[in-house]
């Protein structure tokens, strides 16, 4: 019974902060009996809800049904990229990197996102996941985060020792018809493309290589397929040093 396992009760009660939640969910992924215990404890608290039930105002029903009718359901992601970090490496995981995992939230282990391409090869996805996990677990992993012009967030975990970074783009505004977001690594004022999102996509997780010596990671809105040089303005920029 590891120390982290004693968090099962606090986890079922939502009595932990985001970092510990991420850490515990990582543990759950490696411990099926713990998952069963948590499910039972969560259900135990749900069993108390009969005792506190209260009929809500009738307008709530109308509001919920109206809103749900106008809300598209999230479909299962084409690829569910879930990765686990081995226990000991997790200990080294900086708080910063854990925060990025926590960003995924939503109860899934690690984080998941729709892939940019439905035909993405599974093997490649798996290899990339390993690289992403390695960046997050790097002893020198550092977190940078900023909000995007017009809403949304860009979070980057960079590791100089690995010469790599993971960029997580979430809930950006739509780039508009025929446009896409593009990532740039900027060294001494010279931008180099670090990947183009699929047309219209508003979120992604990208592995960015060759960041050593770079000062900035930037995001621009470009015509579909990306551009050779960034089109101003930068919708987000993160200072790496």
């Amino acid at each position: 019974m590891t120390d982290v396992h004693t968090l099962a009760g606090a986890y079922a009660l939502d009595a932990i902060d985001r970092l510990e939640r991420a850490r515990f969910e990582n543990h759950l992924a490696e411990c099926p009996p713990c998952g069963a215990e948590v499910a039972e404890l969560t259900k135990t608290m749900a069993a108390l809800s009969g005792a506190t039930a209260e009929v809500p105002p009738a307008r709530l029903r109308a509001a919920v049904l109206t809103r749900s009718a106008a809300t598209p359901q999230t479909r299962r992601a084409v690829h569910r990229r879930t990765f686990r970090l081995p226990g000991r490496r997790w200990q080294r995981l900086t708080a910063a990197a854990a925060a990025v995992i926590a960003l995924g939230g939503g109860g899934a282990v690690g984080y998941e996102m729709a892939s940019q391409s439905a035909s993405l090869d599974d093997t490649r996805v798996s290899a990339e996941n390993k690289q992403i996990a390695a960046v997050l677990a790097a002893p020198d992993a550092r977190l940078h985060s900023t909000t995007t012009t017009g809403g949304g967030q860009v979070t980057v975990v960079s590791s100089d020792s690995r010469n790599e970074a993971v960029a997580v783009l979430t809930k950006l505004p739509s780039p508009g018809a025929g446009h896409a977001y593009q990532l740039w690594v900027i060294s001494d004022g010279t931008p180099r493309s670090a990947g183009v999102l699929a047309t219209g996509r508003t979120g992604a997780t990208e592995l960015v290589s060759g960041i050593r010596g770079a000062q900035l990671i930037g995001v621009t809105r470009e015509p579909a397929g990306g551009s050779k040089t960034p089109t101003p303005p930068l919708v987000a920029q993160l200072r790496l040093i």
Partner: protein, 173 residues
């Protein structure tokens, strides 16, 4: 739930009727303010609709899943408000009376089995669980509030819940 995940609006309306009183009652205990409780319940149930595909029958009941979402949303809201209140308190405003949480919740739990099972817990188990679940406190806050060590509170939350589970006869499936 399978129908809801497949996009069936009628099934979702039926699900609403079955679960809304429990979700609203729970959220209301946590956020206290009725108008805020309506807003949080609305957000939580729309999230249930939106993410219904995530529900995994093997990991518990639909009610448990939905109420966990409701709880999570309510606690998030309380913590956000609490953070704001802390900032205000530093400016001289009074804080939130957590002592009332346990007494109030216990008094309102009218269900006999629940009362009996809660009474079967030790004082610290009961307080730790109720403060966290209905007060939205983290175990660190609970430890500070009860003047107990972190390992003690973590352990009491877990063994208290296990005792509660056994007393209420909760099983998966």
């Amino acid at each position: 739930m399978t129908c809801v995940a497949a996009g069936d609006h009628d099934a979702f309306a039926a699900l609403y009727d079955a679960i809304a009183p429990r979700a609203y009652g729970l959220i209301r205990r946590i956020v206290r303010d009725p108008a805020l409780a309506e807003e949080v319940t609305q957000d939580a149930l729309v999230e249930v609709w939106r993410t219904a595909f995530r529900f995994d029958r093997e990991r518990g009941s639909a009610a448990g899943w939905i109420l966990a979402i409701a709880h999570h949303r309510a606690v998030d809201r309380v913590r956000a408000e609490q953070a704001a209140a802390d900032r205000e308190r530093r400016a001289g405003t009074a804080g939130v009376p957590f002592d009332e949480v346990v007494a109030e919740v216990t008094a309102r739990l009218e269900h006999e089995a629940v009362r009996r099972c809660l009474r079967a817990l030790t004082g610290i188990q009961r307080e730790a669980i109720l403060l966290a679940y209905y007060g939205g406190l983290t175990y660190r806050d609970v430890a500070e509030h009860l003047g107990a060590g972190l390992p003690t509170i973590k352990t009491r939350m877990r063994d208290g819940l296990i005792r509660l589970r056994d007393c209420l006869g909760v099983t998966l499936g």
